[in-house]
């Protein structure tokens, strides 16, 4: 190696070389810092612009009233409720299945045909576009099962869409726990399950929670898959809180798309901007709480 590249063999000799390297270091640092600053600025501008467009729309009435079909002055109360309702339903379906599958693949399955088949299927599932999954939901839940547009159908389609990601999050969380801790537990006569339950899961609770909340933020913003499954309407004449999973349940993000592209109300632009702002704030809250919670949990579970 040294024979073929004599210039690298004497790296500490020439002075100008050192100053060159210092310059390169400064340039690299500057570039990276600028890129990072750029991202921050981009987000700030984006939020600022949405605030400018949508802040004046937001009122107690707007946040709680039902939407209006024809006249101005509709609200987004049921949509906000539906967004959270479908999210909770989706998480109830997704989290147990994804966690179980992730634990199985990461902790139990030996490398082999079955393991790689499951991984391949999960990866394929993950690449299915949201709109295609929506069409699938339309055929299965709306048409074949005759549910029509329902919160449940939307949640199930979202479950299919997000299972792979959550499974991956679980696997990565579990993989972040050092093998030495598993061995330490097993060497005390613990069973595999005891080891997973008492060492591996607590050790990965922070990445798991963070991952789940981040995915929840994504689910809240899902649109295409819900247009065909949960529908673009809320049950008229009812209160904002409709707990029946077999009723249509337009979410906030669907409402945003619908008023902008199909809406007949004269204040459609305002409603759209207001909805966008609320949606953005919700997603931001999810992301921030994911960080805070993740940090708090890891401190709690490591006894620090």
């Amino acid at each position: 190696m040294t024979a073929t590249t004599p210039s690298t063999a004497t790296p500490f000799v020439r002075k100008d070389n050192a100053s060159q390297r210092r310059l390169a270091d400064a340039v690299a640092t500057g570039l990276l810092w600028t890129a990072a600053l750029g991202i921050v600025l981009l987000l700030a501008v984006f939020i600022g612009y949405l605030l400018y467009l949508g802040a004046h729309v937001i009122s107690w009435h707007f946040l709680t009233a039902p939407p209006s079909e024809i006249s101005a002055g509709g609200g987004i109360g049921p949509e906000i409720f539906n967004s959270f309702y479908i999210l909770v339903l989706t998480l109830i379906f997704t989290v147990p299945v994804a966690t179980a599958a992730g634990i199985y693949l990461q902790e139990y399955a030996r490398p082999g045909l079955f393991n790689s088949t499951v991984q391949f299927c999960a990866e394929s599932l993950a690449t299915i576009p949201s709109i295609v999954m929506g069409l699938f939901g339309l055929i299965v839940f709306v048409q074949v099962l005759h549910w029509h547009f329902t919160a449940l159908g939307g949640a199930l389609a979202l479950t299919l869409l997000n299972l792979p990601a959550l499974m991956r999050v679980t696997q990565e969380g579990l993989a972040s726990v050092p093998q030495a801790l598993r061995e330490g537990s097993m060497a005390l006569g613990a069973t595999k399950w005891q080891t997973i339950r008492r060492v591996v899961l607590p050790g990965s609770i922070a990445p798991l929670t963070t991952g789940i909340i981040l995915i929840a933020g994504r689910i809240i913003g899902e649109t295409a898959v819900l247009i065909y499954t949960a529908g673009v309407s809320v049950s008229p004449g009812r209160s904002a809180f409709n707990w029946n999973p077999f009723h249509p349940a337009e979410t906030l993000s669907v409402h945003l798309w619908y008023t902008h592209s199909e809406g007949l109300v004269p204040d459609a632009v305002d409603i759209g901007n207001g909805s966008a702002l609320v949606l953005l704030l919700i997603v931001l809250v999810f992301n921030i709480s994911a960080r805070i919670l993740g940090r708090g949990l890891s401190r709690h579970f490591t006894g620090k």
């Binding site: 030996r110 490398p111 050092p178 030495a180 801790l181 598993r182 061995e183 330490g184 537990s185 097993m186 060497a187 005390l188 006569g189 613990a190 069973t191 005891q194 008492r198 060492v199 607590p202 050790g203 579970f301 490591t302 006894g303 620090k304």
Partner: protein
């Protein structure tokens, strides 16, 4: 047991009997036909150059290789005469009886207290007062009690490396194993922490059978009663520590002891 034994014989009961042990990583054979007897209430040291298979060998003694796919173990390891690789043997109960301390301290990311009572809890002890007793006894025997008794509810990760390793020993002692395996337990520690661990091992052999891997021949000479020498997967020689160090039977052992190997 001690009282029934004639005082004159130096021979102890055999706690672990290893017979024709072979370990493979895939196709690669890391241990070749190793056989040895590990006497009860004694410290047996495993020495040899890096990569000769000491860790591989010691991990076969409590079926730790079961956890890694692609590792095959052939041969017999008998604990009090019972083959731990036998058909109906549950490796979990074997590891309960044969504990292990690892090269790098690996405390759980829990409090000091939770670390020590982890094993007893897993084996069904739930009475708080008893757990507290077990915790204190374990920490005392691991010579750590005085240093941590006021901070049992702090994270074990805040301890120094040497303290963490003694905590890991306390954690093993708390499950009352019969045999304690240690794979270079002091190699990540400074001289003071090392000598504390060495003193501790001297204490432990009163109640336990200890097998220890060490890359330091001085350490083997200081703490062990028996020494076995490994080279390239072969168990070359085993004998009392003084024999192996002063008049080794095999030329290769002598070369290693006198420093003619790397």
């Amino acid at each position: 047991m001690l009282s029934t034994e004639p005082v004159t014989t130096p021979v102890r009961a055999t706690k672990l009997e290893v017979k024709d042990l072979n370990v493979f990583y895939g196709e690669f054979q890391a241990i070749k036909d190793a056989s040895m007897d590990v006497p009860e209430n004694r410290v047996t040291a495993l020495i040899g150059p890096s990569g000769c298979g000491k860790s591989t060998f010691i991990r076969a003694l409590n079926r730790m290789h079961d956890l890694s796919p692609g590792v095959t173990v052939k041969g017999h390891v008998r604990l009090d005469g019972q083959d731990i690789y036998g058909k109906d043997v549950d490796p979990v109960t074997i590891r309960h009886r044969i504990g292990m301390v690892f090269q790098r301290p690996n405390p759980f990311p829990k409090t000091i207290y939770e670390n020590v009572v982890y094993g007893p809890k897993i084996h069904g002890l739930s009475d708080r007062r008893k757990l507290a007793e077990v915790c204190e006894r374990g920490l005392r025997r691991a010579a750590l009690w005085d240093e941590v008794k006021d901070r049992l509810n702090e994270s074990a990760l805040d301890l120094s490396g040497g303290q963490q390793q003694r905590l890991c020993i306390a954690r093993v002692l708390a499950v009352e194993p019969e045999v304690i395996l240690m794979d270079e337990p002091a190699s990540a520690l400074d001289p003071i922490a090392t000598s504390k661990i060495e003193d501790l091992i001297g204490e432990l052999k009163r109640d336990y059978t200890v097998v220890i891997v060490t890359h330091s021949m001085q350490q083997a000479a200081r703490i062990s009663d028996f020494t076995s020498f490994f080279l390239l997967g072969d168990l070359i020689e085993i004998g009392t520590t003084s024999e192996v160090f002063t008049k080794p039977k095999d030329k290769r052992t002598e070369d290693y002891i006198t420093g003619r190997y790397g």
